[in-house]
Amino acid sequence: MNIGMTSLARPLQDALRPAGIQAEHIGGLWNLTLGLCALVFLLIVAACVAALWIAPRADAGTAPNLDSLARPERRIWRVIGWSTGLATVGLLVLLAADVFTSRALARMPLQDAVNIELVGHMWWWEARYRDADPSREFTTANELHIPAGRPVVVTLRSNDVIHSLWIPNLHGKKDLIPGRTATLRLRADRPGTYRGQCAEFCGIEHAMMALLVEAEPAAAYEAWAARQRRPAAEPADALARRGREVFLSRSCVMCHTVSGTSANAKLGPDLTHLASRRTIASGMFPNNRGHLVGWIADPQSLKPGVNMPPNALPPDDLQALLAYLETLK
């Protein structure tokens, strides 16, 4: 139960530190809005404090001042009228700023975009990298790699309930709604690792549905994509080969895919290149032997409610399976 969710270097998940053009547009609007709202806040609180300062004190016995019922207080009304007018102007500024930001968001150039279809599952992300040439398409899970500086069009679908993709450093949210398709267009302008998280309550493990986005230089990205397109390599040693037998003869094969083998089920994440990913359990735990053991043997203790069943393997089988999984680079 107590394998902590630690030891990842702190990934960026912060709307105030934009690393892409879309998040920068929104960040600019945020600064403007924050400034204007802070000004209004200070003015009104100051007016309120001044009112309390200026008005003389009284008690319950003080005779009420009923002059206003006898004749209209035109001076006060004028002040209120002007203040309201000023407030309206401020609101119009906000509206205009919002419209222009929306337009800027919609106008991000899309030439040479990477197309990713992201499907939400309870509680993990399935990513299919689309390509005009079908042989260049590939599938991965819970970790996106994108080329820095190149636009990315993420097509969003859901397999079950509503999820929401939120990578605050790159862009705002977009919902993944079953029966509907949405798109999110973003671009990472600075290489780095950005963390995203599901932002729509999607059941009891909503808190543990994160994903990492690795924005890297074009060459590194292409190399990664080329590796992802390859089927799983033939295990080199006997232990790993035995591990593959375990994988293919146990319940693993009911849900997972390892391309190049007979395992091609789609209920769980594609494991073809599991060892190349930094985390397991949808961005929640570092991908190392300790966590993998815990995850395979008793996933419910790490992520209660997850759909993966516990697997009581004999120690030998477990060691072999781990050796095999570690070859899936």
Binding site: A47, P168, K174, P304
Partner: protein, 651 residues
Amino acid sequence: MTVSGDTAQRALATWPDRSGPGLAPGDAYTLEQTWSDPPGIIGWFAAINHKTIAKRFMVTTFIFFLLGGLLALAIRLQLALPNGKVLGPDKYSQVFTMHGSTMMFLFAVPVMQAVATYLVPLMIGARSVAFPRMNAFAYWIFTMGGIMLYVAFFLDIGPDAGWFAYVPLSGPQYSPGKRVDFWAQMITYTELSALMEAIVLITTILKMRAPGMTLNRMPLFVWTILVTNFMVLFAMPAVMLASTALITDRLVGTHFYNPAEGGDALLWQHLFWFFGHPEVYLIFIPPLGFMSSIIATFSRRPVVGYPAMVLSVIATAFLAFGLWVHHMFATNLPELGKTFFTAASLMIAIPTSVQIFCWIATLWTGRINFKTPLLFVLAFFVILLLGGLTGLMLASVSLDYQLHDSYFVVAHLHYVLLGGAVFPLFGAFYYWFPKFTGRMLSERLGRWNFWLFFIGFNVAFFPMHVLGLQGMPRRVYTYPSEMGWDKLNLVATIGALTIALSMLLFIVNVLHSRRRGEIASSDPWGAGTLEWGVSSPPPMANFHVVPVVHGRYPLWQEAGTPRYVTGLANEWREVLITSVADAKVDHRLWLPSSTIWAFLSAVATTILFVGSIFTPWAVVWGAVPVAIAATLWFWPKHDIIERRVESELRP
């Protein structure tokens, strides 16, 4: 709560003090008896006097407020540290769903109606609300719905799909079992209760005002209640439709929300928020009335700009129905359409700022009596203001992409709902407590209560703005330690504990003051509206003689002639009905007397509602006891009819 033995005793012991002008002591005693609730245990359940029901209603909603608060405390304890182990994910889902549902459906909306059913008749010079039996029925239905929800929660079948219950998560496939059914059925209960209270309050306000209280002289609080309850009439049916479709999807296999069978998952969100956004204003508008009452009294002058205040409230109510989509900006709706809702969401700030400016002008030009109710009201100018400004941020489509469903929204909504509703509500409670009980709340404890609440609130919720911007999503039961969210979460939890302490002080203050507080005169604050013209607590009939109103602040302004209405019967529950706009005397009406059947009808309805969670056939067989109880409720009594006819012949 008034037990009728108490009432009778009080009437005997003190009636000379509160006989009021124009009524002989013997007549006053008769009148008191006529409007009293029957004695005994059965009498307790048969009570229908609007003040009795309203007090129970207020106490019940306050208990739900405390329960919701305890749930919030559990949430904060779980989130105080990363990888928290106080609640598991399953319990956490139930707890945050129960917290939201309790605060919205079992506290915030009904407490406003509860306060209104107490105050409105007193403020408009009426002896009762309209349809007093239905008023009692609405209270019982509400209470039973709330109890049902909590019984389910304690049996570990509490709802766990969020207070907003988005489909398909709340649908039959992803929420098997009965948990969400209890939630949906709780909606039916509160829906029924709120609609009935709306009918009661609208009718009371439009037809039962004292002669002379034209719409133009109606207290601003009564205006806010009138507007709010019209909103209830339009908003509640949307959620009723939504929750009924959800229940039929779950129980009898319809497919309203199933995209695979031609349904639509977004349909729920449209229907829910078409109710859900106006609901915020159902909660927020009555406190605007508290504000206007309290600010006028404590700055010793009428509120600046009465017509502007009334028109602002009406404008807010209209606009409230045109901005529900700002809860759905992250969905794939067309962008141009979203901009319309941005404009509407920004526009609703205009009427609110008019009111804020009017109140500040009132304070500025008044003479200030600095007492606890005013303190709570002044918190509005900091907390609600901040919540309103963050609301402008959320109204922007682009900003909302980042802020939506993050902790920023949690901060925003608590600033709006606590600053806009709960702080003024507490101010209102300190203000009207002497009227409810005849005793003052302690000022000293009141100030402690206020400052702990104010500081605790800001410590708890301000950091959440930052957490949201730092990427913390809502409704997560835990977070990894390397996210860097731990310090602010701990601070928020300390703030939550401070709020809990302030609530404890409030309870101590109420319990202590109820017995030993300073005795209140009829008008301890020197206020100007009619409810302060009767004794504290008011006689069972409210007014010994019904007043005639000549201005907006009848107790401040010089009395005109005629001062009182004469000729209403003391021997039975006779009230005066006046015209809608000008409050011209129209006719006399007999209101029904106490009955146990309102309560028993509520029990029968509860059996039907709870039964239908388990079998659709309960709707069929459960209708039989409901029909019987409702028939007996309306069964005419010969002697009353005869006396009535007699009084018509020889008035």
